[in-house]
């Protein structure tokens, strides 16, 4: 079998680039959409949250507690306790004032003016206490200080940052929809495929040339936009979080691994769609459906069903590799001379 010639692939890709440059719609889409998504939207989302953020407390309140009694281990049910140190105790239905709790488990308790550390609380009311490394379930906090946990603003910023990850998967998915609709359907409408197919160029070389011509600008724009995005996010969120959140490994996986995989899914999906439609608008409308599974994944992540952690993202990347392989196989079958000349409508 004949080897695919890179010079021919590149010749086709260069021709496509020359055509894109002259298509204002593609040029504007390549510039404006990523610019809005990666510079303006982060500012719109993050700035208000960051500007209202208050400094997190780093010191416990001085509660003037002096314990006079110690309880080690065991279970304590019901009762009123004052100035007692509990270590490794399971407590239920108690009322405590000016106590210390270390490594305890508490259910249905009313705690006031106490220090609680390395413990867990469930169904409790806590008033004017210091909490340090305490897990809480259904706990009512009043005038208390939680140490070692992000503030509400920090949590919101981190959540919004995760949401912005979606943009970096949408850009390499949507841009091919726009470009492919012109390069494939446009060529079909212009009837320029037949003379191209009559050249001594293989189907795979033509398909690869077209894929490269869409993949390169889409990914270049995505990666270039990542630089100002990182700067903006760090400038806005850095002072609030006390560290520079980007770039981190999760983001690098999304931008440099998942991005190209999504881009390829979109391109190949559009090749298949383009074979069946006859106008650019229909191609774009149908092509944009490719975005749905990707948005779906991130929607599921944002509502907390799965987390946007490295193992999940790598697993998703693996799924995308499989999808790409299947779509590439289908696209090569559809993008054959005979298929194009006989069945493409």
């Amino acid at each position: 079998m004949r080897r695919t010639r890179p010079d021919k692939v590149w010749t086709i890709a260069l021709k496509e680039f020359s055509e894109f440059r002259r298509n204002r719609y593609i040029v504007y889409s390549l510039i404006l959409m990523p610019l809005i998504m990666t510079t303006i939207l982060p500012m719109v989302y993050l700035l208000p949250v960051a500007s209202f953020a208050s400094d997190p407390p780093d010191e416990p309140m001085d509660l003037g507690i002096e314990t006079i009694e110690i309880v080690y281990g065991g279970t304590v049910q019901n009762g009123y306790y004052n100035r007692t140190l509990f270590i490794g105790v399971t407590l239920g239905n108690i009322v405590a004032l000016s106590c210390r709790f270390v490594d305890c488990e508490m259910n249905y308790c009313l705690l006031r003016n106490s220090d609680i550390s390395d413990s867990s609380l469930s169904e409790c009311v806590v008033d004017r206490c210091n909490l340090d490394n305490v897990s809480r379930f259904n706990v009512s906090l009043k005038d208390s200080r939680v140490l070692g946990e992000p503030t509400e603003a920090e949590s919101t910023l981190l959540l919004l940052l995760d949401a912005q990850m979606l943009f970096f998967t949408l850009i390499p998915t949507i841009l091919p929809t726009i470009i492919a609709s012109y390069t494939l359907v446009g060529e079909k409408l212009n009837r320029s495929l037949e003379p191209l197919l009559a050249t001594p160029t293989s189907d795979l070389e033509i398909l690869t040339g077209k894929v490269v011509s869409i993949l390169l600008p889409s990914m270049l724009v995505t990666w270039i936009c990542f630089v100002p995005f990182v700067i903006i996010v760090n400038l806005i969120a850095g002072p609030v979080l006390d560290y520079l959140p980007l770039p981190d490994l999760t983001w690098l996986v999304v931008v440099f691994l998942l991005g190209p995989l999504f881009c390829l899914v979109s391109i190949l999906g559009n090749v298949i769609i383009s074979s069946r439609v006859n106008d650019v608008r229909s191609a774009q409308q149908l092509g944009s459906l490719v975005v749905l599974p990707i948005v779906g994944f991130f929607a599921v992540a944002l509502i907390g069903v799965i987390s946007l952690t490295l193992p999940y993202l790598l697993a998703f990347a693996l799924v995308m590799v499989c999808v790409d392989i299947i779509l590439f196989y289908l696209a090569t079958r559809i993008f054959g001379r005979e298929e194009i000349l006989v069945r493409w409508r």
Partner: protein, 311 residues
């Protein structure tokens, strides 16, 4: 250069081309005529290795169009002008040709020279850097012809080269094709334009799914209409036509609106004898000429005959 045997192509239940056998020599200009949907474009696509054959065999310069490797070589040695120019509208004329020259693997130095030569020959060199979108239909067609020739192919397939062009653009394109003919290129011409086929083609074939007729245009006229000598005489109605039945080579003699019509085996050879006999019968001969039927008459007779046969 082109050899096919029982070539056929089906699209599902529809037969597009059936049992087509051709033998086209190097340097020959061959015209394929036929109504819309006759299978002309399908034939060209099969011969160019663009679509597969359902039956039969086809060879281009000895290369088998069924063999994928040889198909690639075939595409490298042919030039195709499809029905629609199919140019890249946003690119310039030069860039369009340069792109194809690169795909055909033309040497960079020769490429520039060749493109210049072609654009100059087609009077488009001055507009080489302008986007094709602003060109007239005729100019686009010229660029498409230049594209088919950019790699100096041995064999040229032209599908309706003057379709939709104004008369002056048609003349320019036709003259250019005549120049190509003089250069000795083999040209396979698909056309509806019978006048064009008559002027350009050494041989023609009439296709309507299957091959209906093939030959030189004048030979086909003879085959379908016979060879006639038309004679105009004064008071022709008074002549007794039965007295001419013994003229050697005579098939029949009739009286029509154009005069006396002698159907003969060789009108040029028999003309003196016919004139002698007419004078001997007392006729006053005014004009003698051999009747020539146009390709249009021949085409309509062939297609009409086929339609009648199919009814």
């Amino acid at each position: 250069m082109i050899k096919t045997r029982a070539l056929g192509r089906r699209f599902g239940a529809t037969v597009a081309v059936e049992d087509l056998s051709l033998n086209i020599k190097k340097g020959e200009v061959f015209g394929l005529l036929g109504p819309n949907g006759a299978g002309k474009t399908t034939t060209v696509r099969m011969l160019c290795g663009l679509i597969s054959l359902s039956s039969g065999e086809a060879y281009i310069d000895g290369l088998d169009v069924k063999d994928p490797e040889q198909r690639l070589r075939i595409r490298g040695m042919i030039g195709l002008l499809p029905e629609s120019p199919g140019l890249y509208e946003s690119l310039s004329a030069y860039r369009n040709l340069d792109f194809y020259a690169k795909l055909y693997g033309c040497d960079p130095k020769c490429r520039k020279e060749r493109i210049k030569e072609l654009l100059q020959a087609l009077e488009l060199w001055d507009r080489r850097d302008q986007p094709v979108a602003g060109f007239s239909k005729g100019m686009k067609q010229k660029i498409a012809i230049a594209r088919a020739l950019v790699h100096e192919p041995k064999l040229l397939f032209l599908d309706e080269p003057t379709s939709g062009l104004d008369p002056s653009a048609s003349v320019t394109v036709r003259n250019y094709l005549l120049d190509l003919k003089k250069e000795g290129r083999t040209i396979f011409l698909n056309t509806h334009n019978l006048d064009e086929a008559e002027r350009l083609c050494d041989r023609i074939a009439v296709l309507n799914t299957r091959l209906l007729a093939m030959g030189r245009p004048n030979e086909l006229a003879q085959d379908y209409f016979g060879r006639h000598l038309l004679v105009q005489v004064k008071e022709q109605e008074t002549l007794d036509l039965s007295r001419f039945n013994d003229i050697p080579g005579l098939v029949k003699v009739t009286l029509g609106s154009e005069g006396l019509c002698f159907t003969l085996d060789d009108p040029q050879l028999r003309a003196p004898e016919v004139v002698r006999r007419l004078i001997r019968e007392g006729a006053e001969v005014q004009q003698v000429y051999e009747s020539r039927k146009s390709l249009e008459d021949v085409y309509l007779r062939i297609i009409g005959g086929e339609e009648n046969a199919s009814r």
